[in-house]
Amino acid sequence: MFKWLDPYAKSETLYHFCGKLLPYLMVSALALLLLGNIWGLAFTPADYQQGDSYRIIHIHVPSAIMSMGAYAAMASAAFVALIWQIKVAHWAVLAIAPIGAIYTAIALITGMAWGKPMWGAWWVWDARLTSELILLFLYLGVIALNGAFSDRQVGAKVSSLLALIGVINLPIIHFSVEWWNTLHQGASITKFAKPSIDPSMLWPLLISILAFAVLLMALTCLRLRTAILVNEQHRPWVRKLVGG
């Protein structure tokens, strides 16, 4: 059923495939980000309770959702790397980890800058904030563990294993606002119910979420290409490509 995927496990094929996608992904990510953010900053009404401070939502929610999306993608790659011993899958884990860490940092920073005027505190040890901080440590842990062993294959295995174990944190982050009493507001968009956010504010938000998703794909392509070159530098096809 998934036989058609097999050629992409070959690093040379994957390198060229990512190279073809990269310009389209990068240009559309930046265009969507500018469109969504300018729309959200200047062309939507103010919130009836939070005034103009709520405009932070247009980067806070996209970065938070995609910090979890990136983790799910990274853990899937780790699963493939561990079960089928596919090397490029492990390079994908390491390509995604720094992107996820930056997205998580953005979600935390923008959350702090939103929390200060609304709650009166930059930080509270609340379930949502704490579990998102743990997500940041998971990303940093995956990066650090990979480099912590003199045997690179052991490092690859252990970091992939950590990435898989950390998946337990995703439902905790998602349901933290329902399971525990929290300062953090509930979801603005849900799959099953009518969104609690007004349509005029929803559209720019959806565009920004899409922008962060496409940017994640673009950066993954870019960083995976670098990883392939570094790891395959002794292969003839890389020598021919770079040495010219």
């Binding site: 932070i56 005027p117 870019l222 070159l229």
Partner: protein, 66 residues
């Protein structure tokens, strides 16, 4: 357009500091991540190119000696 003037847009109804702090740091981090990833690849390609050129010079020299 929600705002009447540009200065009103910058003020963000009194929340200007927090809104622009958020957007500023976000774009700084994103641009840093993109530029860093591009630079990393460029630098590695240059380094590998130099290594390959050096290996070829060594090989040429050894062939001349024989």
């Amino acid at each position: 357009m929600h705002f009447q003037s540009f200065s009103e847009f910058l003020a963000m109804g009194g929340y200007g500091f927090f809104v622009w702090l958020s957007f500023g740091l976000t774009y700084l981090l994103l641009i840093g991540l993109i530029a860093g990833s591009v630079y990393q690849q460029k630098q590695f390609k240059q380094q590998l190119k130099a290594t390959i050129a050096r290996e070829q010079r060594v090989k040429q020299y050894q062939e001349q000696q024989v």
